[in-house]
């Protein structure tokens, strides 16, 4: 049976586009122009997914999500916006929202399709969901291998722009995966971290990378699943909220900043978590100028 999706947006034009696109993708699509209409539709039939615009007249998208979470706890929800997602991080933390799709120019149909598919299938892991090309794999079993892996991937990249953007993010995420993910080190005790640390016998950090016509992607996976959506939202919020001095309140935090900086430096930063099983961070970088601007918030916790 076709999966059923409810799309909520006050722009009729956009509803029309989404309706056509998602129908072509094989879904059964219903639309609503505001929260009231959406709630009415939800009461009439069951849906697999609701995607709502954030900024609508009347109830905002996140308020609608809060009601839905209470009344239909099994319904998967995602928000959508044309605005800058960074402006919504506080809201996301407050309403525990991990998924915000962005309406970009050009409109990123592939991405919207892929994100909706992962949400519906609950099968979020794997770089292949985002990159339509050959995927290579590397493994880390000892902390001293981080540097070599990083260089190997950076050398593999064709464009200096990609190298520049991945240099900061990749280092950060690999170190996180080894030290927080596998070793469970404390972020505020970086001074006592040891180099040359072996991972547990059957444990490894898996790094997959690949590219297609429009983007380069790298995914880093650990086998612990220690990261939580709550943590990620907390750190992002600490670094997007400004204190009275105009600086981010999390500026001098012992850790959590690396994650924010990684998200800022790369076009797409996707976190998939299966608690206690695995954490996957997918980083994508589009060719210059493509889908520039707002980046989706994508933290999927199973």
């Amino acid at each position: 049976m076709n999966k059923t999706i409810l799309v909520v947006d006050d722009e009729e034009d956009l509803l029309d586009i989404m309706h056509d696109f998602l129908t072509e993708e094989g879904y059964s699509v219903h639309v609503a122009l505001n929260a009231e209409q959406a709630l009415a539709k939800l009461s009439q039939q069951s849906f697999d997914l609701m995607v709502s615009d954030i900024n609508m007249p009347g109830k905002k998208g996140y308020e609608l999500c809060a009601i839905v979470k209470k009344e239909y706890p099994l319904l998967t929800t995602a928000l959508m916006t044309a605005y800058d997602v960074r402006d919504y991080i506080s809201m996301a933390k407050e309403f525990d929202i991990g998924n915000i799709i962005t309406k970009t120019t050009p409109f990123n149909f592939d991405e919207v399709g892929a994100l909706i598919a992962t949400l519906l299938s609950k099968n979020v892991f794997g770089l292949a969901r985002y990159v339509n090309g050959k995927i290579n794999t590397l493994r880390i079993k000892n902390s001293d291998e981080i540097e070599a892996v990083m260089h190997k991937i950076l050398d593999w990249m064709q464009s200096e722009r990609d190298r520049r953007k991945f240099r900061a993010a990749l280092g950060e995420i690999l170190i996180n995966a080894v030290y927080y993910g596998a070793q469970n080190e404390r972020g505020d005790r970086k001074d006592v971290w040891k180099s040359n640390v072996d991972l547990a016998p059957h444990e490894e950090i898996v790094i997959s990378y690949g590219c297609d016509g429009e983007k380069v992607g790298v995914a880093v996976t650990d086998q612990r699943g220690r990261l939580t959506k709550k943590d990620v939202l907390y750190w992002l919020e600490r670094n997007t909220t400004r204190g009275e001095d105009g600086l981010a309140v999390g500026l001098f935090d012992e850790h959590g900043r690396g994650l924010y900086i990684s998200r800022e430096s790369i076009d797409r930063f996707i976190v998939n978590i299966k608690p206690t099983i695995t954490t996957e961070v997918v980083m994508l970088n589009y060719s210059e100028g493509l889908y520039d601007g707002s980046r989706p918030l994508w933290i999927y916790e199973m």
Binding site: E11, D13, L14, I17, D20, F21, A82, Y83, D84, R86, K103, T104, T105, P106, F107, F109, E160, R164, A168, N239, T240, R242, D245, G246, L247, A248, G250, L251, R257, Y260, I261, E264, S265, G289, D292, G293, S294
Partner: protein, 519 residues
């Protein structure tokens, strides 16, 4: 001078040429008819008194006191005081038969010059008159001498006082002159007739007057027309008893001045003239207009980012529509295909503009940290090395080691990459790029990026940091590059300036080494 000073003198000219004055003599306690008749014979007028206390009863002036030595053998306190008092102005002569008759106390009084002493022998020998004459004469001469001395002393005192007063006046003048000289503005005083009473050197420098003495001249003849006009109006107002001052802005010789005139009134309320201050406010005006300009740009920036924000929705819809429409078989070729392609391209172009605008207005301060300045610049250079235009550019580094900058590393890289790319473009790929990192006198770190290209034309210099200003061909640059640079540097608490002459253009960024504002 005491009124008791003798109006008396005895035959000042023994030859008889001069006047003869009758001297009054108090004769106290002396019962000696021989002495009295001798004095009478010699035209002295004698007033006999029996005790010292009786002196108080004598109302008219007298010239000499003759005192019986017996009275001073054991005189009372009051008597002694009276005698001392007397001796100040009047010669006092003690009469004794012999010096041996005097008490030791009286002898002391004679020795210390309080009393003269005459002896019975002198009377017997008829020498008394001569002696008294001598005493009186001495007294007169001494009196005159004392008088002269006093006059002289008074003169010295006055002279000294004058010197002190002059010193004070000098000092006061010194203070006022140094006040006038050190007033940071031009100071000018004209009297009600328009005569210059005071003009400080600053006024002369400000108005480009030659360093001559202008005091005493009419202001019209000295001051440039615009200033003279103002003072003329003010003088007229203050003569019309209108008591107010007003400020005026005067443009002169490429500078802007502020002139203010204040009415000066004397203690009695009468009009003394005008006190005029002249300030050079060119720099202030420049800063104020810069500030205004910046504020205007900030407002425009906020407005633009608001508009850009709102454009994202319709743009994404236009793009989504046309992306899908292009997949239709109708749009495979021909004019519709062309139109769709054009719509898609142009909507992307709009989106690029919107995104640069939003990136421009967005401030990200969350990734601030302390960075090694040399490392940031070297990182920047690795990026620029990939640009073809860099192949034939020589790079010279003058790095002071150990200097850091505080802020967002990637934004700093963006700034320096922008400046370096501009420099390379300006040099047309051939030239010398000099990068210096030095300690700033302001406490931060100064990064100077210098090229030896043709330089920035004077007429565009003031616009280079304006958003959307570009000299590049349409499509080659958004004109936001340097505006973003300035924004980043200012937001990082620093400042960026540019100086350019043909063959040498320097962009100097000064950045703090801590979380705070350097400038």
């Amino acid at each position: 001078m005491s009124t008791r000073i003798p109006k008396i003198l005895v035959e000042s000219h023994p030859t008889g040429v001069g006047h003869v004055y009758i001297a009054d003599i108090l004769m106290i306690g002396i019962n000696c008819p021989r002495l009295k008749s001798s004095l009478d014979d010699n035209v002295y007028h004698v007033i006999p008194l029996s005790t010292i206390a009786e002196i108080a009863t004598v109302t008219h002036a007298f010239g000499l006191v003759l005192l019986n030595a017996a009275l001073v053998i054991d005189p009372s306190e009051a008597d002694i005081e009276q005698l001392y008092f007397l001796s100040d102005a009047t010669p006092l002569v003690v009469y004794a038969e012999s010096l041996n008759d005097l008490s030791p106390h009286a002898r002391n009084l004679i020795t210390d010059g309080t009393f003269e002493w005459v002896s019975g022998y002198e009377i017997d020998a008829g020498l008394l008159r001569a002696r008294i004459d001598k005493v009186l004469l001495n007294h007169r001469i001494n009196g005159t001498f004392v008088q002269q001395q006093e006059v002289a002393r008074e003169k010295v005192r006055l002279e000294e006082e004058l010197v002190v007063k002059n010193l004070l006046v000098e000092k006061e003048r010194d203070v006022s002159e140094s006040i006038i000289a050190s007033v940071g503005s031009g100071l000018l005083i004209v009297d009600i007739e328009g005569t210059i009473i005071l003009i400080n050197s600053h006024t002369q420098t400000l108005l480009g007057l030659s360093p001559l003495g202008y005091v005493g001249l009419l202001f019209d003849a000295v001051l440039p027309e615009a200033f003279a006009d103002y003072i003329r109006v003010c003088l007229k107002k203050c003569n019309d008893k209108e008591s107010h001052s007003d400020l005026k802005r005067i443009s002169f010789n490429g500078f802007i001045y502020q002139i203010a005139a204040y009415k000066m009134t004397q203690k009695n309320g009468s009009n003394r003239g005008l006190l005029v201050f002249i300030h050079d406010i060119s720099e202030q005006e420049k800063l104020a207009s810069q500030l205004y300009h910046n504020e205007k740009l900030a407002t425009i920036g906020t407005m633009l980012s608001g508009i850009a924000h709102e454009l994202r929705n319709p743009l994404s819809i236009i793009s989504a529509r046309v992306q899908r429409a292009r997949m239709s078989p109708l749009a495979e070729s021909g004019p519709i295909a062309k139109a769709f392609e054009s719509i898609e391209n142009q909507s992307h172009r709009c989106s690029t503009i919107v995104n640069s605008l939003l990136n421009f207005s967005r401030t990200s301060s969350s990734s601030y940290a302390l960075h090694d300045a040399a490392a940031v610049l070297d990182e920047t250079l690795t990026y620029s090395a990939y640009q073809n235009s860099f192949d034939t550019i020589e790079i010279i580094k003058h790095y002071t080691p150990g200097l850091s900058i505080f802020g967002d590393r990637s934004r700093f890289v963006q700034v320096f990459l922008n400046i370096i790319t501009n420099a390379a473009d300006a040099m047309n790929g051939k030239g010398v790029l000099t990068i210096s990192i030095v300690q700033s006198s302001l406490g931060g770190t100064r990064i100077e990026i210098e090229d030896n290209g043709p330089g920035i034309p004077h007429e565009v210099m003031s616009k280079i940091f304006d958003p959307f200003f570009t000299t590049k061909d349409p499509g080659k640059g958004t004109g936001l590059g340097l505006a973003i640079c300035q924004k980043v540097i200012v937001e990082s608490g620093g400042a960026i300036v540019c100086s350019s002459v043909p063959g040498r253009t320097v962009f100097t960024s000064t950045l703090p080494t801590y979380a705070g504002r350097l400038i």
